[in-house]
Symmetry: C2
Subunit: 220 residues, 2 copies
């Protein structure tokens, strides 16, 4: 909900940003326990800012109260389904808004070009069978679409969903059928945006995320 332009100073926010970044990179295993002292030592600050950051992660749902403090939140199959349902709608809205802005001439040509480029990068990474790079390139593309929507609150909601999913996922791209479909679907979304057709873009995005949800298999 915070407009991303804010960059509050302070060690607490830095710790929070760092941890959030680590989560979205899947650097922590689900169920792993986090201790304040260890993080404080790791990040070179005292326990207080770490404590604040963990509190924020708690409200984000990225960590859950555990026996002795907090643990990295896992994702039950039901939760994953709920997340993808929400994500499908949010990304559909993002694509729709991006297309609307394009129709109104509010998107720079460079932004559209960047979308094409991002699609290419995903394709390359998938063809190279590099799951890590694929996930990152894929996220970059979707982030770019979210940015093109021009709605900071939507972007924030998307980030929350992505981060929550990213904890447990290295996207399942070894399914050859899904790997083949992903680029085609990406191109359909971008085509809808480029054409300035909100309905087409929305449907393409929704279809894509629903397919991604079916392909997703949470780590055990």
């Amino acid at each position: 909900m915070a407009t991303p332009s804010d960059s509050p100073p302070g060690s607490a926010h830095a710790v929070y940003a760092t941890l959030r970044h680590r989560f979205s990179n899947g650097e922590y295993a689900p169920g792993q326990r986090l201790t304040e002292a260890a993080l404080a030592a790791d990040l070179g600050v005292s326990r207080t800012p770490v404590r604040e950051a963990i509190g924020r992660l708690l409200t984000d749902g990225l960590v859950v109260p555990a026996a002795r403090g907090v643990a990295v939140a896992a994702l039950t199959p039901a939760e994953a389904e709920h997340l993808f349902t929400l994500r499908a709608d949010l990304e559909a809205l993002a694509a729709e808004l991006a297309a609307s802005r394009q129709a109104l001439g509010m998107l720079a040509p460079a932004e559209i070009t960047a979308l094409d480029l991002a699609v290419d990068r995903v394709e390359e990474a998938v063809n190279a069978h590099d799951p890590r790079a694929s996930a990152q390139a894929n996220l970059a593309l979707h982030r770019a679409i979210g940015a093109a929507a021009g709605n900071p609150f939507l972007e924030d909601a998307l980030h929350r969903v992505w981060d929550r999913i990213a904890v447990t996922t290295v996207a399942n791209l070894d399914d050859p059928h899904w790997a083949g479909a992903i680029t085609e679907q990406h191109r359909a979304i971008v085509a809808g945006i480029r054409a300035g057709d909100p309905e087409v873009a929305r449907k393409a995005a929704k279809t894509h995320i629903e397919a991604a949800g079916r392909a997703y298999r949470p780590a055990p």
Copy 2:
């Protein structure tokens, strides 16, 4: 994003919940500055948990960094528009999911009855020209719809949007045309849910929130 079933213990979370509740009740004026010491004294705890709670409010965007600490976030017209755009889509999804669950027999008859009752309460409050009660009853209805959707992540996203809007709003219900339309639109949403028709429910909800967005005028 936090599944609402979690209820982390601790004074920090209690402070956060209290403040969040106050915000959603509009108890703080936009721009008002909040000091840790005053809140700590008010709530009978030390500055530390207050500090943590304020940190969470910062990431929620409900407060913004100010000269001397934090101030209650105001809402620019552009932000309000973005919020209502997102809200329209989220509530549309909520109504759609609620209708789907109804079609699958997953909604208890008591839930449907509660929706009807909530609509009636909004109507009464609006007819009584009680803006405060109207806003609360309206929020209660929308919360009920959100709950009927059965998706905790969607509920959380909705709460974030509502709270962000609630800071500056006591809904503008003195517009007689809007006041007359609101109950009709509410009934349309509930009718769609009761009929188990996701498309009808979605469109009704979207139409309603878009109308609400037009009627909304942020406090100066």
